[in-house]
């Protein structure tokens, strides 16, 4: 069992500046479910004044979304995300790890093994692989939203996309197995040499943590920073051949930031800039706060996850949107399900899909003129 890195734990001076940024504190108004409170629990664990099997320690280790909103407002520079990983490394061993997480980790592990074998065989055939940029196919995205990777490739045909990639290990790192999480990321880094382009904010942040910031580009970052060679995406075009269409009302689009992309990598202007090019961009007041998906959180704590999501759905519905753009598969699933549950007409669509061209289920509907 590892301990906490003293320098990480000592950084916090308990000023409380992080309280207003924390979504779980907003739900409970209870110090214990705030960043500062959790750091105090970690301290008690480290000092031995709380035993590792203390119920509240376990509860808070899982109640925290891991969204790292607290990091962005902490003037003392506390690296809460790193602390949380160390905490879960200690707390979530064996049976203490939430069963759903164990299942998920097992799934990607198995998939990883299969892919690795396939890859090794293939490596034997084509030894020289171009040194990037490569498109990364996230394990969950590939399973849940295969069209996202397809759209990304349509948008960025220059990217190499080996089929056998494996998992980046973010899931492991955030769920008590950071050593394995790092090993998987390093492995993926070897398998995809050069710059890795991702469509998943969560994977991007974890990969950048292990491989270095310069090796990882999230899609929007890659597109906006691409040399002039690649043209910027055009607005989704209507058919040129037909009679000149009436100027369609532009799509009203909002963005849901991916926490790790925004708080971990500081990427939030780029997707907005791209959306502004293709539609009428609407900034939701809570765009930068967690939607409650938070990796495996929505599965581990479905009730809390929905509580976090609810206010956001109200906002989305009130804003008269056509769609909410997402940049991470977890948020994609979370918003998609939430909106469907409410029978909302608003759709959650990945940024890559929006940029890659017209999406038939997304024609801007005519609206009453009084809007």
């Amino acid at each position: 069992m590892t301990g906490f890195t003293p320098d990480l734990l000592n950084r916090c001076i308990s000023c409380g500046f992080c309280l207003p940024a924390c979504p779980t504190y907003a739900l409970t108004k209870d110090e214990t479910s705030s960043p500062r409170g959790r750091i105090n629990l970690m301290r008690a664990l480290e000092e031995g004044s709380l035993p590792a099997d203390d119920l509240r320690l376990g509860e808070e280790a899982s109640f925290c979304l891991g969204c790292r909103a607290c990091e962005t407002v902490c003037p003392a520079g506390v690296r809460y995300g790193a602390l949380l990983e160390e905490w879960r490394d200690r707390q979530w061993q064996g049976a203490a790890r939430p069963p759903v997480v164990r299942l998920l980790m097992f799934a990607v592990n198995a998939r990883w093994r299969v892919r690795l074998m396939g890859l090794l065989r293939r490596h034997a055939r084509t030894p020289d692989r171009p040194a990037g940029p490569h498109l990364m196919l996230g394990c969950f995205e590939r399973a849940l939203f295969p069209r996202v990777s397809r759209a990304a490739l349509r948008l960025l045909p220059e990217l190499a996309v080996p089929a056998a990639q494996g998992c980046c290990g973010a899931l492991h790192a955030h769920n008590g197995d950071s050593e394995r999480g790092r090993a998987l990321a390093a492995e993926l880094g070897r398998r995809l040499p050069g710059v890795i382009v991702t469509t998943s904010g969560g994977c991007a942040a974890h990969l950048a943590d292990v491989l270095g910031r310069d090796r990882v580009k999230e899609l929007s970052e890659y597109v906006t920073g691409r040399p002039a060679a690649g043209p910027p995406p055009e607005p989704p075009a209507t058919d040129d051949a037909g009679p000149a269409p009436l100027p369609a009302r532009p799509l009203r689009i909002a963005l849901q930031d991916s926490c790790h992309l925004r708080n971990g990598l500081g990427v939030w202007r780029e997707p907005r800039a791209l959306l502004e090019r293709i539609g009428e961009y609407v900034e939701l007041p809570s765009a930068g706060t967690c939607c409650g998906a938070a990796g495996s959180y929505a599965l581990v704590r479905p009730r809390d996850s929905r509580r976090v999501l609810d206010a956001k759905l109200d906002e989305i519905e009130a804003a008269g949107l056509d769609c909410v753009a997402v940049v991470n598969p977890g948020c994609h699933r979370q918003l998609d399900q939430g909106l469907r549950r409410r029978k909302s007409a608003v759709r959650a669509v990945h940024l890559a899909e929006l940029l890659a061209g017209p999406i038939d289920h997304l024609e801007a509907a005519p609206r009453p003129t009084n809007r």
């Binding site: 003293p6 320098d7 000592n10 950084r11 001076i13 308990s14 000023c15 409380g16 500046f17 309280l19 207003p20 108004k29 209870d30 110090e31 214990t32 705030s34 500062r36 409170g37 959790r38 105090n40 629990l41 008690a44 004044s49 709380l50 203390d54 119920l55 509240r56 320690l57 509860e59 902490c74 003037p75 003392a76 520079g77």
Partner: protein, 467 residues
């Protein structure tokens, strides 16, 4: 830190009664449940409470206090726990009574220029609600985004606008307060003029949770000024900045903001906020004013000129409102940003008459040198409120000990210069040892008798001011 006085534990039957009052979910007592409430923003003080209770109404607060009084259980009221004088550390155990669920703004009235709110509302939330109606809630502590109205009233918080607008005390029109006996009183009210009886509203303001639990506050608002702006000036050293402050005041200007930071603070703030501040100067002065746009521009220009005349290396006026706001936001986080220099950050809060600022700054430097400590200084120059801040490494107990001795000298120096041991953070337990030196024994005795009148059983925040 201190050995806890003997106390009545919160036993099973007390817990049962507490649960009946506020609901089982809102009473916590397991070790893991109370650990986070062992600390506030004060370094070096911590003590776990026996139970944490989260009431949702005045009636619940009253019932908890009746129970505590009957059983002699200490009760420590708590807002956001951002205070810097150990005010919310339950040194005698007992109950920490958390008021953050009482977080509704009940009224904002433009006609009467006032707001009524519950204690758990943050300062920033109230200021925003007022601003949305074209009104200003003037008290502006650096911790505004987290500190609660209850906490800021109970500590009489000051802030970045102290010189022109005064401190929290100047804005509290009335309170609803639960006494330690469980009785609910209403002090003051909605009127600006009201002199019936002793001014208990003022007495409660700054009482640090030792006289009663404030459950509602009526606060005066002002019409929002049409414009505001800030500028900054760099000086070779803090003493030069102090002279500029004197020059500005002597010129008959009453700025809204006059904040200074020494070089160490600038370095730390710059590393967090990255505003592009100059790191080569010895001190930075942030000056600001609000009011009619033309008048603001004129005052800012004059202040810049006065700074240059007083020896500033450079003085500029912030171009845009956003720049100006970023400057203040950076200033607000000086304390936590300073902690980047070490791992324990002991911030103190002395005050001196304005003309003594340069002398005081000199003494602080000399004391730091004598004790071989890193002490950075920043503060509210406009009202003479200095925050010398010592940064040491965790685990270096010997350095912490030296820091205590150094601060003792700093407080005594401040008092010798006609100043005080705390300008805004309060006494708590941290300053209690110096209180008699500041007030004299006769006055400390009077405080104790007042405390006994409000809280005969001595259950409210024992071990703090008034004990």
């Amino acid at each position: 830190m201190k050995t806890a006085p003997a106390r009545e534990p919160v036993d099973a039957s007390a817990l049962r009664e507490l649960r009946a009052i506020v609901g089982a979910d809102h009473v916590r007592h397991a070790d893991g449940d109370v650990t986070a409430y062992a600390r506030d923003a004060t370094p070096l003080f911590h003590a776990r409470p026996d139970a944490v209770v989260h009431p949702a109404s005045t009636e619940e607060v009253a019932a908890v206090l009746r129970l505590a009084g009957a059983r002699s259980i200490p009760v420590v009221p708590r807002g956001a726990g951002s205070n810097l004088c150990s005010g919310t550390v339950p040194l005698a155990g007992g109950i920490v009574l958390v008021l953050t669920r009482l977080d509704r703004i009940l009224e904002v009235s433009g006609d009467e220029l006032l707001a009524v709110c519950q204690p758990g509302v943050t300062c920033a939330a109230l200021a925003d609600a007022a601003a949305a109606r074209g009104l200003l809630y003037a008290p502006d502590p650096g911790s505004r985004s987290v500190a609660t109205i209850g906490g800021t009233v109970a500590t009489c918080a000051g802030g970045l606008r102290g010189l022109k607008y005064g401190v929290t005390r100047n804005y509290v029109l009335g309170t609803e307060t639960v006494l330690a006996t469980g009785e609910v009183i209403r002090t003051g009210g909605r009127l600006w003029k009201d002199v019936a009886g002793y001014d208990l509203t003022r007495l409660l303001t700054g009482s640090e949770g030792t006289l009663g639990v404030i459950t509602e506050v009526t606060l005066a608002l002002l019409p929002a000024p049409a414009a505001g702006g800030n500028g900054l000036a760099y000086f070779p050293g803090l003493a030069d900045a102090g002279r500029a402050v004197a020059a500005i005041i002597a010129a008959g200007i009453v700025p809204a903001t006059l904040e200074f930071l020494d070089a160490k603070c600038v370095e730390a703030v710059e590393r967090f906020a990255g505003l592009g501040l100059r790191r080569d100067a010895g001190a930075l002065l942030i000056f600001g004013d609000d009011g009619e746009p033309a008048a603001v521009a004129r005052q800012l220009d004059r202040m810049a000129e006065l700074c240059l005349a007083a020896g500033a290396i450079e003085a500029t006026v912030a171009g845009r409102a956003a720049e100006s706001e970023a400057l203040l936001a950076a200033r607000r986080c000086t304390l936590p940003a300073l902690s980047r220099l070490g791992s324990i950050t002991i911030l103190e809060d002395a005050g001196v008459p304005r003309p003594q600022i340069p002398a005081m700054v000199g003494h602080i430097d000399a004391i730091a040198e004598r004790y071989d400590l890193t002490i950075a200084t920043f503060g509210h120059a406009g009202d003479g409120n200095l925050h010398p801040t010592c940064v040491v490494d965790a685990g270096d107990d010997e350095a912490v000990e030296r820091a205590h001795l150094a601060f003792a000298e700093i407080f005594r120096t401040a008092m010798r210069l006609g100043g005080t041991i705390t300008g805004e953070h309060g006494v708590g337990a941290a300053k209690l040892p110096y209180l008699a030196e500041r007030l004299g024994t006769a006055q400390v005795d009077l405080l104790r008798r007042i405390k006994a009148a409000f809280d005969p059983a001595g259950v409210l925040n024992p071990g703090k001011v008034g004990s």
